[in-house]
């Protein structure tokens, strides 16, 4: 395979591939706890396939992106700029942020929306080592009875949920897998 450059790894057929990618992203956001495959993009390391695909599906010059920790590489910046034209910004201005949970840092750095416009909040793309339907118990909109999902930090996500209708929304990515956790989901540690 040719070396990864800023020009490579994009969609080969953007309208169709992005449509499939969005449907996966929408399905997991509408059904917290569900895990879907998300591929089509080969982003530069350390971005996962799923995180790279999601970024190219949702970002463009209108969305500000924060690259947290290891994801903020020169190659990563050039690649994202070439494919999306998204401005790269600090955490407090971001519409989208991507990185490991540790790198993304305290949630209070991100925009949570305003009472009149709760949609003006950040969406965090959290890179995880694993993504499994176990551990934390989820309930709320999109979930029949309960669902389970391995979450990086239950107390922080619980306090995010208490901000509803404000708060951040989350995608969790690992390899080519994606799951999501909207602010509307109630989280328990067991049940």
């Amino acid at each position: 395979m040719a070396a990864q450059t800023q020009f490579s790894g994009g969609f080969e057929n953007a309208p169709v591939q992005a449509a499939h990618a969005f449907r996966a992203a929408m399905t997991v956001m509408a059904r917290p706890g569900e895990i879907r495959a998300l591929t089509g993009i080969e982003p530069p390391a350390p971005l996962s396939l799923a995180a790279g695909t999601l970024l190219l599906t949702l970002c463009d010059p209108e969305t500000k992106v924060h690259l947290a920790g290891d994801t903020d590489t020169d190659a990563g910046r050039k690649w994202l700029t070439f494919h999306t034209g998204a401005p790269i910004v600090s955490a407090d201005q971001a519409d989208f942020a991507v990185g490991t949970w540790r790198a993304l840092g305290p949630l209070n750095a991100y925009r949570i929306g305003t009472p009149e416009y709760p949609d003006r909040s950040a969406t965090l793309i959290v890179e995880c080592d694993q993504l499994e339907q176990r551990a934390a118990v989820l309930s709320g909109p999109g979930i029949k009875d309960t669902a389970r999902l391995s979450l990086p930090d239950v107390p922080a996500l619980q306090s995010n949920a208490t901000l509803f209708p404000l708060g951040c929304d989350f995608f969790f990515t690992s390899g080519d897998k994606i799951a999501a956790l909207p602010r509307s989901t109630q989280i328990r540690t067991e049940g």
């Binding site: 992005a18 956001m29 509408a30 059904r31 463009d60 009472p115 009149e116 909109p141 209708p165 602010r183």
Partner: protein, 286 residues
């Protein structure tokens, strides 16, 4: 039709709509503003629904469009043709075979499944608009969860008519937080708003998108002593005999003869094919 991008809209527009849909799903019932585009059809003909469908469809989908329950009315036919031409998707009139259903003013009678998506065309997304015309004020009312005015309106219905006379676009509270206009569906359809499918709402002229995820609690507003009632014409369908479906009243002649038929044409057709016979179908056969 290769002159168009897949599903008509350009990719940047679709991304903007897709981001609005995701925020709408994260805050069920909240109306997300979006930069609605001009579509090749007039406002009021489902430009919001068409934009949401365009951002949602993939080439693998099977698309169904209904207008007041019917697959064969002008609005439904033209939108179905639009996506046949610009997205090349398969289309169907059968609710069961569809993966994406765009609807104007009805929810199909058949129970929708987990793998289906229903897109509503919405004329006025703001349930409080006829009570408070100023957007700045209704936005504040939503942020403060101040919905007393809506209950006053329902109360005035009772004081004037002895019952809640609101028959369509009946306000609902979604997941215990936002009061939402379910689009002008008859209140008969309100109980179906708690469903297994993903529900997306698009208002083109008013530039709003909102959503209800599957299995979300949707409560029709009412009073303890005047509970919500999902009403329909007290009559069986004259073609298929169904007693559980929403009916249209059709005037037959100048002498006042009339018939009641299922508003959901696919439901009525599938029942007749299964051998069910209504009053007028019986007379014709005799």
């Amino acid at each position: 039709m290769s002159e168009y991008n897949f599903a008509y809209l350009d990719e940047q527009t679709k991304r903007m709509i897709r981001r609005a849909i995701l925020k709408g799903l994260a805050v069920p019932g909240y109306q997300v503003p979006f930069a609605s585009r001009e579509m090749p059809m007039p406002y009021g003909w489902g430009t919001g629904g068409v934009q949401v469908s365009a951002a949602t469809l993939t080439p693998d989908d099977t698309f169904k469009v209904i207008d007041q329950g019917a697959d064969d009315t002008t609005n439904a036919v033209s939108i179905r043709k639009f996506f046949e031409n610009t997205a090349g998707v398969a289309t169907t009139e059968e609710t069961e075979k569809a993966t994406v259903i765009q609807t104007r003013h009805r929810i199909p009678e058949a129970k929708l499944r987990e793998d289906q998506i229903i897109v509503y065309q919405v004329p006025i997304p703001e349930p409080l608009r006829f009570l408070e015309p100023r957007e700045t004020e209704t936005r504040k009312m939503h942020s403060l969860e101040e919905y007393g005015l809506m209950h006053v309106k329902l109360y005035e219905d009772i004081s004037q008519h002895g019952a809640i006379s609101t028959a369509y676009a009946y306000p609902v509270k979604v997941s215990g937080r936002y009061v939402m206009d379910p689009s002008p569906i008859p209140k008969f359809d309100n109980p179906k708003l708690e469903m297994d499918a993903i529900q997306l709402f698009g208002a083109g002229r008013e530039q709003r998108i909102y959503a209800v995820p599957p299995h979300t609690k949707v409560v029709s507003l009412d009073f303890e002593d005047y509970p919500f009632e999902a009403t329909k014409a007290d009559h069986p369908c004259d073609l298929c005999g169904a007693e559980d479906s929403y009916l249209d009243e059709v005037i037959m002649d100048d002498a006042g003869n009339r018939m009641f038929v299922c508003s959901d044409t696919d439901y009525c057709r599938s029942r007749r094919e299964a051998g069910h016979v209504g009053r007028l179908a019986e007379e014709n056969a005799a």
